[in-house]
């Protein structure tokens, strides 16, 4: 399981990943431009005794990649303690299938943290668990309180929703991201910090 140093070194740098993107470049650039990480959030990474290798699985069409990979890349850039290598998911399914979400979904991004001996410390998949919980709460509130959602069954296919409800849901996704952006970035850092701490302690 995991990867060898030789395999790892075949991955792209973050800059090379960005250079080969064919879509969402502007969204990713906007995420980078508006990303603000506080020094106290970076301190843990800055104080790591040894740099870590981080294998990233990504694709340019994925919203969670566009949202979360720039956070990891900024930590790498600011601290010099994370050595990133990016692999395209669909060209590296042998790696991808080692890190399936809930054992079955090829969700990305995946960030896998290795120490200097390529011992895996832990991995992050898709988005912080805290944000999934927050999203679930917000959707519950939307269905309970928004006039457009009245009478619409939670979990109904969008194809079976009235058009007003479908449009409201679409609008909600954008609003949720805008409202929770800073929380999400912080949660990414907290989650990867936690898994590194647990991995190092083993």
């Amino acid at each position: 399981m995991g990867v060898t140093r030789e395999q790892f070194e075949q991955g792209m740098s973050y800059e090379a990943f960005k250079a080969q993107m064919t879509r969402n470049q502007e969204r990713l650039a906007e995420t980078e431009r508006t990303l603000a990480l506080a020094e106290e959030e970076l301190r843990f990474f800055r104080e790591l005794e040894q740099p870590l290798h981080v294998l990233v699985l990504a694709e340019d069409w994925c919203g969670d990649v566009i949202n979360n990979l720039p956070v990891l890349a900024r930590v790498a850039e600011e601290t010099g303690k994370l050595n990133l290598r990016v692999f395209l998911r669909d060209q590296n399914l042998d790696i991808m299938d080692q890190y399936l979400k809930e054992g079955k979904y090829r969700s990305i991004p995946v960030f896998v943290f290795f120490d200097q001996d390529f011992r895996e410390l832990g991995h992050f998949i898709e988005r912080p668990a805290a944000m999934t919980v927050l999203m679930d709460q917000a959707v519950t509130e939307l269905f309970a309180n928004d006039p457009a959602m009245q009478g619409v069954e939670r979990g109904a296919s969008p194809a079976l929703m009235p058009e007003a409800a479908r449009n409201r849901m679409g609008q909600f996704f954008g609003e949720f991201r805008a409202r929770t952006r800073a929380d999400s970035d912080r949660a990414v850092l907290q989650e990867i910090r936690g898994l590194i701490e647990r991995g190092v302690a083993v």
């Binding site: 069409w61 669909d90 979990g155 969008p158 194809a159 079976l160």
Partner: protein, 91 residues
């Protein structure tokens, strides 16, 4: 020009495909839509593509959810959807 089903006989059957636009599901969506177009030509009232998020891939035929990635896992075989459409057209 006379095609497979006369206008007056055509049933107003719509197929909707909901696909996660943040998940790279466009190839499967286009392949399914293309298969439906080629199989049913004029016999469908509409083929609707609905971009969505959160990992969705649903196929609704005439108001029936015949495939849901959340419920059934994965993508449907095109032939399965075609059979579901044909069955409803013949009702």
């Amino acid at each position: 020009m006379k095609d497979t089903v006369a206008d007056t006989d055509r049933k107003p059957l719509k197929v909707s495909i909901v696909y996660c636009a943040a998940c790279g599901y466009e190839p499967q969506t286009i392949a399914l839509a293309s298969a439906l177009m080629h199989t049913f030509t004029y016999d469908l009232a509409a083929i609707e593509l609905i971009p969505w998020q959160e990992g969705a891939f649903d196929v609704v035929v005439g108001g029936d959810l015949v495939h849901s990635m959340y419920r059934d896992g994965g993508f449907p075989a095109n032939d399965t959807v075609i059979a579901a459409v044909r069955e409803r057209l013949e009702r």
